[in-house]
């Protein structure tokens, strides 16, 4: 919250007033989240689960949200869709194509949800009704949202199944979800999400339940969709390897706050926040040949015992006295990066690269 304003890192892209029409090409970012706070009712009272998150997603951009359980990453996505659990209180602003979503009523939200913003969840079987044929599920929302006839909706469904490379789409439409493998089901779920040609796809752990071979196919698919259709994607995952391969920019969340953000190569290539650094060192794929994985000690905090000061301080080997009491503010760094760490133990090398110390 303290630094919510300076987080949107592209200069000169102000709020896009006047682009309220749903089909209007987005001038500025497709999605702008500013100073988002979400408080949940728990047994012990109201707890702030998301605290001052800000980011934006451009057209055809893939933004990665990295975080572990309890980081607030899924709540952030749900707030865009107006799907927060009952009793949740929100603050800040979530603008989709310039239109504020947090204050929409249910009818207005229905216009956006599923039509302009689509959700792909971790478990494709939750997105598909087990008793209905794929055709029913893939045409229903197209007819409802776009007013298509049955034949038009069916043609759209075939087109979308082809786009996600389902072999023999006609046969797939006649089948039930259980007749497909997990990877195929996730493709069908993505095809459903695409059917209304949304401007934004929210993909919450879209490949976590899948094998690496299938995961590679889904990641390539998302990348192709943004290139060919200009779809923007917000991909939420704890797998930095996944983000590294598809995301243009990433935003690392910890304990409901932003720890670090910036271009993917910058953030993962030279992490500045001790948490990002720790995640990288704990990755088997990222550490050097023969080097052991170095896990971060401890567990992510739960909503009921969020530490004072920096939420990461109890697990941080660089923590100082100040970290225990003062919430670090999110500072803007050169190159469109941001960092919320007052110690900044990995800062110097990067500053040098940016030309502040070395010629």
């Amino acid at each position: 919250m303290s630094a919510s304003g300076d987080v949107v890192d592209r200069a000169g892209t102000g709020p896009t007033a006047g682009t309220a029409g749903p089909a209007a090409p987005a001038q500025g970012p497709v999605l702008e989240v500013e100073g988002l706070t979400i408080s949940l009712r728990t047994a012990r009272g109201l707890r702030r689960a998301v605290d001052g998150i800000s980011f934006s997603i451009d057209r055809a951009e893939i933004l990665g949200i990295a975080g572990e359980s309890g980081s607030g990453k899924t709540l952030t996505a749900l707030s865009v869709l107006g799907l927060l659990p009952g009793g949740a209180r929100t603050g800040g602003s979530v603008r989709f194509q310039g239109r504020e979503l947090l204050t929409l009523n249910r009818r207005q939200l229905r216009e956006v949800r599923g039509k302009q913003v689509a959700l792909v969840s971790q478990d494709p079987s939750t997105a598909l009704h087990p008793l209905l044929r794929v055709e029913v599920q893939m045409t229903e929302h197209v007819r409802a949202h776009l007013g298509f006839t049955h034949d038009q909706a069916r043609a759209r469904a075939v087109e979308m199944l082809e786009a996600v490379r389902i072999p023999d789409p006609e046969a797939a439409l006649a089948a039930h979800p259980h007749q497909f493998s997990g990877g195929m089901r996730q493709r069908i779920a993505i095809a459903m999400a695409l059917a209304c040609e949304p401007a934004l796809i929210l993909a919450d752990e879209p490949t976590t339940a899948l094998d690496v071979t299938v995961q590679a196919g889904i990641l390539r698919l998302l990348d192709r969709l943004r290139r060919e259709r200009g779809v923007s994607v917000m991909i939420i995952t704890h797998d930095l390897g996944v983000l590294s391969s598809v995301a243009d920019r990433i935003c690392v969340l910890y304990g409901g706050r932003m720890a670090e953000y910036g271009r993917t190569g910058d953030v993962l290539g030279a992490p500045r926040h001790p948490y990002t650094q720790g995640l990288m060192r704990s990755l088997p794929g990222a550490s050097e040949e023969g080097a052991p994985m170095v896990p971060i000690q401890g567990s992510p905090p739960s909503l009921d015992d969020m530490p004072a000061g920096c939420a990461f301080h109890p697990r941080c080997e660089h923590a100082r006295e100040r970290c225990r009491t003062v919430v670090p503010s999110l500072r803007t760094l050169p190159g469109g990066r941001g960092l919320a760490c007052d110690v900044d133990p990995f800062g110097q090398a990067d500053e040098g690269v940016a030309g502040m110390e070395r010629p």
Binding site: V212, L283, P295, P300
Partner: protein, 353 residues
């Protein structure tokens, strides 16, 4: 219980700790012919050795793991523990000599009783491991010691499973397995349900236990990069068969089977700088209708005509390293055993990050 089920038979000298020899496992299906989930699979686990078993879902790796501890019965072949055939779990108690062969499951919330304090659950296993009920002090000391070994404070014994995170629950499940004083642990996807930072913690914990106590470990995972870090040997399964097995480092550097190569190239790497992982098109075939010839041929990028008809034999690439592929060639003796394998990066098809 008959007396001989309680007796601990002497280990057969010279036998590996755990030996899976050419097993088939079939599942009966109502109204259909049975499905062979595992076909002629073999592997061994020695003391202090971590063997990683990898493959896509549905390849039979979990079934193989379950057969290895006697949870399912092989329809052909044999599983031996310390040289003696593993008895399949029946309605009676598991024979005591098999108690030192333990299993850790994927979902720690499902494998722990939600309504019992974790200390009690570990104490039960400790009493079984000791062969007699422990008195209060001895029991709580042992529980404290086990919790300490898995990196938890002994004070947490009074809590219930829901009070812990996934990673902590998996530590408790491991403590419970260790309470039975195992010589060998089969861990089925022990880290895939956990958060990023907990995955490395648990993988390191299991590898550390194997190294420190000379315990053999069969580590089943679909996450190749973790297996690469902690396994001494890697076994790759595809569609019920072991297609490649060998020492981890050379298998990674120079995978001999096209499927192993495809798996390795599909792993996304953090810091790879925007490189999309390589796709392996197609799905695992319908288990009721296995393809003729090599089972991988419909998806294999290097398929030859003979692959469609000939079931490939295992080829010894180097001592202890086998690939089941018609294209597989033994390595010349000069390169085997050397730490570095020439051309490794090209074969892996991807520059190192």
């Amino acid at each position: 219980m008959s007396g001989d089920r309680r007796a601990v038979p002497p280990a057969v000298p010279g036998a590996p700790l755990l030996e899976v020899e050419a097993i088939d496992v079939s599942y009966a299906r109502h109204g259909h012919s049975p499905v062979r989930a595992v076909t002629g699979a073999s592997l061994t686990v020695g003391p202090g050795e971590v063997v990683g078993l990898v493959g896509e879902s549905g390849c039979g790796k979990s079934t193989l793991g379950r057969a290895a501890v006697g949870l399912v019965a092989p329809s052909a072949g044999q599983v031996r523990y310390r040289g003696r055939p593993v008895e399949v779990l029946a309605r009676g108690a598991r024979p005591r000599w098999l108690r030192s062969l333990q299993m850790v499951f994927q979902d720690p919330y499902a494998s722990l009783n939600p309504r019992r304090r974790v200390g009690r659950q570990i104490a039960d296993a400790a009493a079984l491991g000791a062969g007699a009920a422990l008195d209060g002090k001895a029991s709580s000391d042992r529980v404290g010691e086990l919790l300490d070994r898995v990196g938890l404070s002994p004070g947490v014994a009074q809590r219930y499973p829901h009070e812990f995170s996934g990673g902590q629950c998996q530590r408790i499940a491991i403590a419970r397995a260790l309470a039975a004083q195992p010589d060998c642990i089969v861990a089925d996807e022990p880290i895939s349900a956990l958060d990023a930072s907990a995955q490395a913690q648990i993988a390191n914990l299991l590898a550390g236990i194997a190294a420190q106590s000379g315990l053999g470990m069969l580590f089943i995972s679909h996450d190749l990069s973790v297996v690469r870090k902690i396994a001494d040997r890697t076994v790759v399964m595809y569609f019920g068969r072991v297609v490649e097995s060998g020492p981890t480092a050379p298998v990674w550097a120079r995978p001999a089977h096209p499927y192993t190569r495809a798996l390795i190239n599909a792993v996304p790497r953090a810091g790879a700088g925007g490189t999309l992982p390589a796709e392996l098109p197609g799905d695992v075939p319908d288990p009721a209708r296995p393809p003729a010839g090599c089972r991988f041929h419909p998806r294999c990028p290097e398929v030859m005509d003979s692959c469609r008809t000939t079931d490939p034999p295992g080829v010894d690439i180097a001592p202890g390293w086998q690939s089941v592929c018609l294209r597989a060639q033994p390595l010349p003796a000069t390169t085997t055993g050397a730490g570095e394998v020439p051309g490794a990066a090209e074969v892996a098809g991807r520059p190192e990050a």
